[in-house]
């Protein structure tokens, strides 16, 4: 039987979290000492029958009370600030990360790489590269947890969430679902493989010949009939989608929103919630007709045409 004491440290955030953890342990030991050493001493010295000065105290307690209020308060605020700073960095993904899509469902993780590779309960990533996961759930809340990276994010149905990390060590690490999700919650586990870049490329190439995520999206775009209105001559009725991704979109309500993953998701599932300025609310909802994985493919396609010019409608 092994006696592990400390988890593997395999990402940049792991180092940050661990230094905070050790400071917290230090502060805890300090408080335990200033509480328990006097307590044990008093229990011994003032035990009934043992001779000791027990004259009533005639001192003002205010100064003592203020001291032991202010010192913990200052330490607590310091901890808050450090923890919040590290959290902020862990929550906001850096630009130029490797995008990977994750779908959680009872009880498995389905992963799609932009290159088209798909995996279940396994994730292969290159060493040293910043990876950004965009995640969605088909049913209940799950949570994508990699202890060795010290990262965790609940995957909440009905929205996209993101998680990022930068692996610093080659190896195989646990992936756990950390949010209780029903009968086989404890089987919703997997492995993260951190590989040297060359090995990662070789792994990616094993899937060569398949459609990339954007190509699958393009096929769906035609099959679902999106292309009838959103591309080419149809765009009298609906906004063209070339060059859309990442741009600002004026809405009927005079709001202006950015066309990001969330906007495209909402436009497909809840088309009447945000109507682009100058168009009628004609689009039917695709809620229930399209899976989370297909949504990711469509978004990949719309992203892939972000630099194209729309064809002018005749």
């Amino acid at each position: 039987m092994k006696f592990p004491f400390f988890p593997e440290q395999a990402s940049t955030s792991a180092q940050q979290v661990d230094s905070l953890y050790f400071v917290l342990i230090g502060i805890s030991v300090f408080f335990l000492a200033i509480i328990f050493l006097p307590m044990i001493y008093f229990l011994f010295k003032y035990r009934r029958g043992h001779r000791a000065n027990r004259a009533p105290l005639n001192i003002s307690t205010m100064r003592i009370e203020v001291t032991w209020t202010v010192i913990p308060l200052v330490l607590a605020m310091g901890l808050f600030a450090w923890g919040a700073k590290a959290y902020f960095e862990m929550e906001v993904p850096p630009a130029n990360a490797l995008d990977i899509d994750v779908v959680g469902k009872q009880w498995m993780w389905k992963i799609q790489h932009q290159e088209g590779n798909r995996e279940i309960n396994e994730l292969h990533i290159p060493l040293g590269r910043t990876v950004k996961l965009t995640m969605a759930s088909e049913d209940v809340i799950h949570s994508f947890y990699i202890p060795a990276f010290r990262v965790k994010q609940d995957v909440v149905p009905g929205r996209f969430v993101t998680e990022w990390f930068q692996p610093t060590k080659v190896g195989a690490y646990h992936l756990f679902c950390a949010e209780y999700c029903g009968a086989d919650h404890s089987k919703m586990i997997g492995t993260i493989y951190v590989m040297p870049l060359a090995d990662y490329q070789a792994w990616l190439n094993r899937g060569s010949g398949q459609d990339t995520l954007a190509q699958s999206g393009a096929r769906l775009f035609r099959e679902l009939g999106c292309s009838g209105c959103h591309i080419g001559p149809g765009t009298v009725r609906a906004p063209p989608l070339e060059g859309l991704y990442g741009k600002l979109v004026p809405l009927q309500t005079r709001e202006i929103v950015r066309a990001d993953d969330k906007y495209i998701r909402d436009s497909i599932l809840l088309p009447n919630s945000q109507i682009a300025a100058g168009y009628q609310p004609l689009m039917p909802t695709f809620q229930g007709h399209i899976s989370e994985e297909e949504l990711f493919q469509l978004i990949a396609y719309i992203k892939s045409i972000a630099n194209k010019e729309p064809e002018v409608a005749k």
Partner: protein, 556 residues
Amino acid sequence: MKELATTLERETPALIGSDENYLSAGHTLKSWLLTTDHKRIGLLYLFSISFFFVIAATAAALMRAELVTPQGDLVTSETYNKLFTIHGVLMVWFFLIPSIPSVLGNFIIPMMIGARDVAFPRLNLLSWYLFIGGGLFALYAIVAGGVDTGWTFYAPLSSVYSNTHVVEMATGIFITGFSSILTGLNFIITIQKMRAPGLTWFRLPLFIWSMFATSLILVLATPVLAITLALMVLERVWGIGIFDPKLGGDPILFQHLFWFYSHPAVYIMILPGMGVISELISCFSRKKIFGYKFVAFSSMAIAVLGFLVWGHHMFVSSQSIYAGMIFSILSFLVAIPSAIKVFNWVATLYRGSISLDTPMLYALGFIGLFTIGGLTGLFLATLAVDVHVTDTYFVVAHFHYIMVGGMVSAFMGGLHYWWPKITGRLYPEKLGQLAAIIMFFGFNLTFFPQFILGYLGMPRRYHAYPPEFQIYQVLSTAGASILAIAYLLPVIYLIWSLKHGKKAGANPWQATGLEWKTSSPPPKHNFDEMPIVTEEAYEYPPLSDEGRELEVSKDA
């Protein structure tokens, strides 16, 4: 009829020292089931919560047995999930929340403030019946096949996906919630309006302050739980979209509502314990509590701040990171009043005359375990660390240090302290001390390994787990078996003491406080004469250098 009977009794008060007391006032089942005596109602709660504790503890024992091996080989994963749901639901709503308030609070509050009963005795009985009614629904849900959502009932798992008896269980908790609300209401009014002449707010024992703070939370927070569960049932039964995004709802809304109740509920489960500890520390070191007003106001501060920290359960839920920062700083702030209490308790020992009777051992155990529970709370309030340890065994260990290490220690301490008052008999002291010590070590062996397990990354609510975690699970199960002995021992000797314990007399601990000024067991209406209070709480006589009291206590 009832009024007439009360008037007659008032005219012919029982004499101190006569055999007539609240226990001998009636022996029929009816005299218990229709009683409006706060002391008997307290005992009805004691029996009922002990019953629920046994079921919930059995569920825990089965889980601990399952976790000895990494494979899920003792029960199926469905059964395991039902076990931790039963354990959580029963322990939280049917044991911890009513433990000190409904048992010790009911029994002691009116006597501590010199009242004949609570403000609304019949409402008090209704509270117990609601509790039992809710309990029956919960038991039905268990017997009919169980519930597998966890005590947190997160949607949309509970509201759409689970195929178990969620509605029955939620109904049970819903009904029991009204019992909490009525008890809280009763206590607030009792404490406000029924204090004996001279018993001003700053002469109140600190137990009363903590129960007052607890009652405010019971009344203000519990309705939100009722709303949350009702909305969840609406979605489950009629498909009204509130939480499930497929029906147009928002699952995060459920968490906000649930924790808006359930975080304050954590303080329902610890504030009464803190009140008991203040009584015990003062009595067994024969000293006035150090910093009375700071301890009193810290209870109120905890009650108020406790309402503003619920979002710290949701740091990885995809709520706004700025909201996360606000909830984090408020969570650090709520730690301060708890720290103030601990420092004041330790300072009370200074120049005291300390005896390590059973209640004091529990009180010292409480300080130790509660401090560890509180300090590990700082880890969880620290945003970046919480991301790693939330939903792991670290959290499980943390809240068990507060709930079991803290609240159950305080409950046991209080039960032993007031046992002579409740029964008129002394429990066997040596056995009591032994059980308290076993409990402390058993508890630490059970739950300390779980901190390490959590930081290693083992998620909670896992039926099977990777083999490298096994050693800590085995240690934890070993500790749980020791803990089981520590719980069994008091059951045996306390029952034994009912017949064979030494007669206690009115005030076996030579304690201050009005509850000790009447006979043990107390007469039905507590006091034969209205007590008049002329001094602050915990006015123990000055001590000699050997720790003897220099003037004879007035009650001796």
